[in-house]
């Protein structure tokens, strides 16, 4: 362990060094560290004050949470990096998102056998809300995205794939490159995709399309329907809309009403 010397000679040497630096107008690292320590204490007090006035706002208002997160990102601060951070401790943002992380992991695990580890943000949202129960605080899709971004650190393959205006959440370490992602985006419209569709929309060769589809099958993300008219359909269970109830077709609506 490196110690600054404490003998008389060492003290004199230190004074000399300091004097030299001060002459040049530079501030030493250890001086700045002392300054930071003081500023940190002050900041903690300011944050406590802020928390006493606005903690509820953060808890109840998802829009405000978004603004808060964006501002933190802009200045280079991650309020969710650690449960020991001031933000987490005093504003309670930490517990909110870390618990959400646990719930997301559990939902993904429970549904993995059905969708291969790929799920739409909508369905995840529905399932998480269900699991949280009626008395729990509401969470928005933005909250889920932020929680998932943090989960990436655990190395179990969480990633977020943009498709047609929403997102697919991957929760297994399956290798998905640009080609795979693009095909997923194409499949989002109908819940399935065919080789001809890929060739028509993306202008790919048959072989390239087939390789991508084979990979999705192998990873358990797609199911093969050989009995479909004209050509095999590759269905993505993650995109089956009847598994979540936010949107229903006109027929279903008509049936539901007298």
């Amino acid at each position: 362990m490196h110690r600054r010397g404490v003998g008389a000679g060492a003290i004199a040497k230190k004074k000399l060094t300091e004097a030299k630096y001060k002459e040049r107008g530079t501030v030493l690292a250890e001086d700045q560290l002392a300054q930071m320590s003081k500023q940190l204490d002050m900041f903690k007090t300011n944050l406590e004050e802020f928390a006493s006035k606005h903690k509820q706002e953060i808890r109840k208002n998802p829009e405000f949470r978004v603004q808060f997160q964006d501002m933190c990102a802009t200045i280079g601060v991650d309020p969710l990096a650690s449960g020991k951070g001031f933000w987490s401790e005093m504003l309670g943002v930490g517990d909110f998102y870390y618990e959400l992380g646990v719930q997301i992991i559990e939902v993904c695990l429970a549904l993995k056998h059905r969708n291969g580890g790929l799920i739409t943000l909508e369905e995840l949202h529905q399932q998480v809300l269900k699991g949280r129960g009626k008395f729990a605080q509401d969470v928005s899709q933005d909250d889920l995205i932020r929680a998932i971004k943090k989960l990436k650190a655990l190395g179990s393959g969480f990633s977020i794939i943009p498709v047609g205006g929403t997102y697919l959440i991957q929760s297994v370490p399956a290798e998905l490159n640009m080609d795979h992602t693009v095909v997923l985006q194409l499949a989002e419209k109908n819940g399935y995709v065919t080789v001809s569709e890929i060739k028509a929309s993306l202008k790919w060769e048959t072989e390239r399309a087939r390789q991508v589809l084979e990979h999705l099958l192998k990873e358990g993300l797609a199911w093969l329907d050989l009995q479909a008219p004209k050509e095999p359909h590759y269905w993505l269970p993650a995109l089956f809309t009847d598994l979540y109830s936010q949107e229903i077709t006109a027929e279903e609506a008509r049936e539901a009403l007298p």
């Binding site: 600054r4 618990e99 539901a256 007298p258």
Partner: protein
């Protein structure tokens, strides 16, 4: 009659409510009847609500649940959840006003003509003014919070700049900073949520906190690990530890940082990262390489196995089962057959039968 347990549906033309138990009980209101909607946040003993302010009923309105009401609004109470999303979608429909342009395809069309403008009746103007005032006041509360937040962020930004300056000086050795002080610096960064400017990582910057955490983890995980064959994925650990804590939860990065210190602190657990990126915690006494011999035996007995089949036989998670089989393959004990039917592992006869 009570209307307190039902399902709310939104179409381009109407809001529809149907009783959950008695499906015969169903009512609808055209979106064109809505003047304004506002949210009411949940509170203690209160559920989140949407208040829907309505135009006065037209004379030819179909009969409804009540003959008359002293209120010109209805309240939708979300006892369970969904208020945020529903409000967002209802607002969208109110903005788009698709009922004005889209034909209604069924005979359930109301007798009310779609309006292109808003009919203002006398009572409505007073209500709208009050709503406007209330909205301004809510805005004021929000803007006060934003103002305070902005001031706070300015101070936080100063801290970020200061930490960058300190890091630069450390790099360029402008002044002497002891190891204790380095540790202190790291803990300041942790408190503020600032990425370590020296190492560029937000994790891997071990502090006192993480060292303590590492020691705590040993206590918490010893028994669960033994119950699970000596190995657990980091995601499992994250859930287990946080569920046990209940509050003051660990962030994913806290957990990873603590685990990275296990080896250095010579604790009986270790962090291991597989080629796939999957991270696990193992008991030091656990030797994954020894497990490979028994894995080979199991696969040989059955001829061949997929990860799922192996997981079920041995009583492991599919994730870890796959990693074990992949490791066995890497070591040359197993080989794979990768087809659209799945990934199947066979004993590697190329090795054993020369």
């Amino acid at each position: 009659m009570k209307f307190d347990t039902g399902t709310l549906l939104l179409s381009t033309h109407r809001l529809i409510w149907r009783d959950q138990k008695n499906h015969e009980c169903c009512m609808a209101i055209p979106l064109s009847q809505i003047v304004f909607i506002e949210e009411q946040a949940a509170g203690i003993g209160k559920s989140a609500k949407i208040v829907v302010h309505l135009h006065p009923a037209p004379p030819n309105k179909e009969p409804g649940p009540f003959q008359s009401s002293k209120n010109s609004y209805i309240k939708l109470s979300f006892r369970e959840h969904g208020q945020i999303e529903f409000y967002r979608r209802l607002s969208e429909e109110m903005t788009q006003r698709r009922w004005e342009t889209m034909p209604v395809s069924q005979s359930l069309q109301t007798n009310r003509r779609p309006q292109s403008g808003r009919i203002r009746a006398v009572g409505i103007v007073g209500i709208e003014r009050k709503l406007e005032e209330k909205r301004k006041e809510t805005d004021k509360n929000i803007s006060e919070a934003f103002e305070d937040l902005s001031k706070l962020m300015i101070k936080a930004k100063e801290m970020v700049e200061l930490s960058k300056s300190i890091a630069n000086k450390i790099k360029e050795k402008q002044g002497d900073i002891t190891e204790d002080e380095t540790i202190r610096f790291k803990s300041y960064l942790l408190s503020m949520g600032i990425a370590n400017p020296v190492t560029r990582e937000t994790y891997g910057s071990g502090t006192q906190y993480h060292m303590q955490l590492a020691k705590q983890l040993v206590g918490i995980l010893q028994v669960p690990l033994e119950e699970r064959g000596g190995i657990m994925s980091l995601t499992e650990v994250y859930c287990l530890v946080n569920r046990a804590r209940g509050m003051e939860l660990l962030s994913p990065e806290d957990l990873v940082n603590a685990c990275k210190m296990l080896d250095a602190l010579k604790l009986p657990l270790r962090l291991r990262v597989f080629d796939s990126g999957v991270m696990v915690i193992e008991l030091q006494s656990h030797k994954e390489e020894e497990m490979l011999a028994s894995a080979l035996e199991t696969v040989s007995e059955k001829g061949s196995l997929t990860s799922e089949e192996f997981a079920k036989l041995v009583g492991m998670s599919v994730l870890l089962a796959k990693e074990r089989l992949l490791l066995a393959e890497k070591m040359g004990h197993l080989c794979r057959d990768d087809s659209v039917e799945g990934l199947r592992f066979y004993p590697n006869l190329f090795m054993t039968q020369s």
